[in-house]
Structure formats: C-alpha cells, structure tokens
C-alpha cells in the first residue's frame, strides 16, 4: 500500500534521512523503531509532506505523494497522529474531531459515531476543552481525530511518549484494537519491547538509515536489538 524508495529528507542544512526504503502492505501493522534522533519523526513527516523529501519517491497505492501539497495528503487516505498528540487545547473534544473530518465533512456524523463507539470516553467528554483531558484521553482524542478522516493508512508517532506506565499499557492495547479493526498502521516508537508485541514487522532506523528489518519475532530475538535496545 505504502512504499518509500530511497527517501532523503531534512531541515535546511541538516539531513535527517538518507535513502530510506520501506514497504507497508494493506492491513498490516508495521513499526519503525530506533533511538532518539534517528529520524523516525522526520520519516512520518516526510510521508505526510510536512517535510519536503529532497530525494526519492513516496507512493500510496502506486500513486506518488511527492507532488502533493501537505494539506491534500489527508484526502488521499493518510492520517497522521503527530508526536505529542498536538490537540487544539481550547477546542472541545468534538470540535477537535470535527477538524479531523475537515476534508470529508459529509461523512462527519457516521464517523463520529464510529469513533465514539471505539472510545466511549470521548463521548462523555465531548464538550470539554481537549486541553483538560488526561494524557491517555488526549491520545484517544488524537487517534480519534485521525480516524475521522477515514484513512487507509494511519501514521502514529510515539503514541506512548509522555504517558504514565499504566496508561502506556492501555495505549498499546488501544493500538492493537485499531490494528484489529483492519486499519493499516505505520507506528514509530522508542518503547521497542511493547511495540514489537503489537506489530507484525518492523524496521530499525539508526542515524537516518534502515539498519535492520524483519518480523517482530525475529527482531525481538535478534542479538543486536536485544543488546542495544532491550538491555538483555
């Protein structure tokens, strides 16, 4: 469904990605893991065109995203839950969800029902400013906002970051539920042990380059990952 071919990207003189290639198939959950500063966030930002790739091609169902402006990407079926959630703090929960449906507003009501079905907690808090939600609820709201666009592919950037350990567990349970719903998911995480239990395949990104790729089990078993990232 999504394929990246030798994508390079960066900010000004700083290059964050060096010829990254990866593939996500329809219905699959794939993780990109790696240390802080490896370029994981930049990778997602390149896919949703918040960062212009300097080389390479990004294709969704065979169609190149490179010529699209950032605000048209979502209408092609890619929803991006950014790092730190980035809700609109002074808009209500429901208004945040409404913004998620901005480019497909005629489907707003049916999707709202779907998101509230998935997260009943959000319906209880629909009139509350998003900034007053707890961390876990904010992550639900951010994921719900992304689902409001009816995406084919969901990009999740560090969904567990900044949350209390108990909440982290429930967020991964949530991600597992989303995957079970049949969404195609590309997830970026530093919490490697947890994320590898959720996805089927993963890529290890280090210093802007793909170092390793394989099934989640294979990576969990690999000595390189066990030594460098799991401390075993």
């Amino acid at each position: 469904m999504l394929s990246l071919e030798r994508v390079s990207a960066g900010y000004g003189d700083f290059q964050a990605l060096f010829g990254v290639s990866l593939e996500v198939n329809a219905g699959e959950a794939v993780a990109v893991i790696g240390p802080n500063g490896a370029g994981k966030t930049t990778l997602l930002r390149a896919i949703s065109k918040l960062v212009e790739p300097s080389a390479g091609d990004i294709r969704l169902e065979g169609r190149s995203l490179v010529p699209l402006p950032a605000h048209e990407v979502v209408a092609h079926g890619i929803a991006h839950v950014p790092e730190n959630r980035r809700l609109f703090p002074r808009l209500t929960v429901e208004e945040n969800l409404r913004m998620g449906a901005f480019s497909s507003r005629n489907r707003f009501h049916e999707r709202l029902e779907m998101v509230y079905g998935l997260f009943p907690r959000l319906e209880e808090r629909r009139r509350q400013p998003a900034g007053t939600l707890s961390g876990g609820e904010q992550q639900m709201c951010a994921i719900g906002r992304a689902l409001m666009s009816g995406p084919k592919l969901l990009l999740l950037d560090e969904p567990s970051a900044g949350l209390a350990p108990v909440v982290v567990q429930s967020i991964f349970a949530l991600v597992r539920r989303i995957c079970a719903q049949g969404y195609t998911v590309l997830i970026v995480e530093q919490n490697i042990r947890q994320v590898l239990k959720v996805v089927s395949r993963a890529y290890l990104l280090e210093a802007g380059r793909i170092r390793l790729t394989g099934t989640a089990q294979a990576l969990l078993a690999s000595s390189e990952i066990r030594k460098a990232y799991l401390g075993l």
């Binding site: 950014p82 980035r86 002074r90």
Partner: protein, 287 residues
C-alpha cells in the same frame, strides 16, 4: 446631584450604544491578530476607504444606500484580502517590528492616497436619521441602528466561528498553525479568508460610522488609536475580551463626559487604560 437623573440614564444608554459600535470596530482587528498574529495598524484606514466608498456610490452615483453599503463591505473585504496577500504574506515569518512597519506604512499610504484622490474636505452623506424619544430621553436613530447592526455583526461572527468547519478551523489555526495541513487545511487559504473577513467587518463598521460622522482622509486617526487600545485592554486577540472592553471604555467616555466635560470622559478612559496596563499588562481577559 440625583444619581438617578434621566440625563445620567441617557448618558449610560448612549455609552451602551457607543460600546456596541466600538465592539464592532475592535472585532476585525482582534480577529486578525488572534488568528494571524499580526496587527493591522492601518485598520482604521481600511474603514476610511469603506466610508468613502459609501459616500461616492450614494452621493455621486446615486446608488441606493443599502446597495452602496453592501458594495463598501465587499470592497473593504477585498482590500483586507489584498493587504494580506501583498503586504503581510511576505513578512509573515519576519520580526514583529517589520510587520508593524509595513502595516504602519500602509496607514500613511492610504491616508496620502485618499488626500490625493478625494481632497481634504469633510464630506457627509446628508442623511439625517430622526432622533428617538423615550420619555424625557432622546437618542439618535443612527446610533441605535449602528448598535443593532454592530451586535448583529458580533453575534454573526460568533456563530460562524462556533458552528462552521471554516470557523472552527480559524479558531484551531490560532492554537496550532503547524499541524493544520494534517487536518487537510491549507493555512494560507485560512489566512486569506480571515483577512477578507476582517476586511468585511471593517467595511460594516465603515457603513455605520458614515451615518454618524463626516469622512475625511485623516478620520482614521480619530478612532484608530481607541480601537487599538480597546483590543489591548480586552487582551489582544481575545474576541470576548475586546467586546467587554469596548463597553467598559464607552461607559467611561459617556458617563465621565456627563459628570465633567466631554473631553474629560476620554481622559478618564485613558487613565483607566493605563492603570489596567500596570495591573494586567496582558489585558483584562488576556491569557
């Protein structure tokens, strides 16, 4: 002096009427600042352009007054859009001082252009609306009309910002500009629309002012600073704060002017402004 004097009541009601007008005047400026984070120093001069439009279409070209006013609103909306595209956009990510300088430059440009085009004469529509008598009090119908339309403008904008996708996006973009593309929203488009909307509000204000005041090239200077102070007093960019501040400011002018002398009303209002700035530099309802 009897505190429940009818003339005091009349002053208070006149203050309310003035407050409605000032609230509308501050609305566009506040909206632009809240959303785009730029102060249109030349805002009052856009209003002046709208006043001349109504004057020329009505007096010279004999358009019906309502049509001339609609045309003025449309024209000033277009001016607001053009101001953003050609003057603000190039300096959008520049230092705030540069943004102040370019819009400040527009103030003098528009003033000078109006002097060249229209001369320095004071011009008025020659429309006199009757005064409305309630008991022993009398109020100008022009002011009542201005107040009503100003409130309608305020309520209309509020509904637009609350109930529509575009309005929600306008509120959202002021909270997180960088992720708007992820919502499928082009920030440049929202800024263009907001600027046109700010211009349309200036145009509506122009229609209401031209019913009560003569237009001349420097008229912007007579109310521009007050409008700016009201926005700052309420918390720059805070629409509700500006609304409240407009009524507070207007009461100082009207009631202060009643107890002392008209000019003293303004003195009191500005003293109040300075005191508030010491107490809450971010404005009464500022964050």
């Amino acid at each position: 002096m009897d505190i429940f004097d009818v003339f005091l009541l009349e002053a208070i009601v006149n203050g309310l009427l003035l407050g409605g007008l000032l609230a509308l005047l501050s609305l566009g400026l506040n909206l632009i600042f809240g959303v785009i984070d730029v102060v249109w120093i030349c805002y009052a001069e856009l209003i002046m352009c709208g006043m001349y439009t109504v004057y020329y279409l009505y007096v010279q070209y004999h358009w019906p007054l309502a049509l001339a006013m609609l045309a003025a609103i449309a024209l000033v909306a277009l001016l607001g859009f053009a101001l953003h595209q050609f003057v603000i956009r190039p300096v959008l990510s520049a230092e705030p001082i540069n943004q102040l300088l370019v819009t400040g430059g527009m103030l003098f440009f528009l003033q000078a252009a109006a002097t060249l085009a229209f001369g320095i004469e004071f011009r008025n529509l020659g429309v006199t609306l009757p005064s409305v008598r309630v008991g022993e009090m009398s109020f100008s119908a022009a002011r009542l009309l201005a107040f009503t339309l100003a409130l309608a403008g305020v309520v209309g904008l509020w509904l637009f910002l609350r109930k529509t996708y575009l309005g929600t996006a306008i509120r959202a973009i002021s909270q997180d500009r960088a992720i708007m593309p992820l919502m499928g929203v082009s920030p440049a488009r929202i800024f263009g629309i907001t600027s046109a909307l700010g211009g349309a509000l200036a145009g509506l204000a122009a229609c209401l002012l031209v019913l009560q005041y003569d237009v001349h090239p420097a008229i912007g200077l007579s109310f521009g600073p007050i409008v700016f102070l009201i926005c700052v007093l309420g918390g720059l960019g805070n629409l509700f704060g500006g609304f409240v501040a407009a009524f507070v400011f207007a009461q100082f002018i009207a009631v202060g002017g009643f107890f002392f002398h008209l000019e003293w009303g303004y003195v009191l209002a500005f003293v109040f402004f300075i005191v508030v700035m010491f107490w809450r530099p971010q404005g009464i309802l500022g964050r």
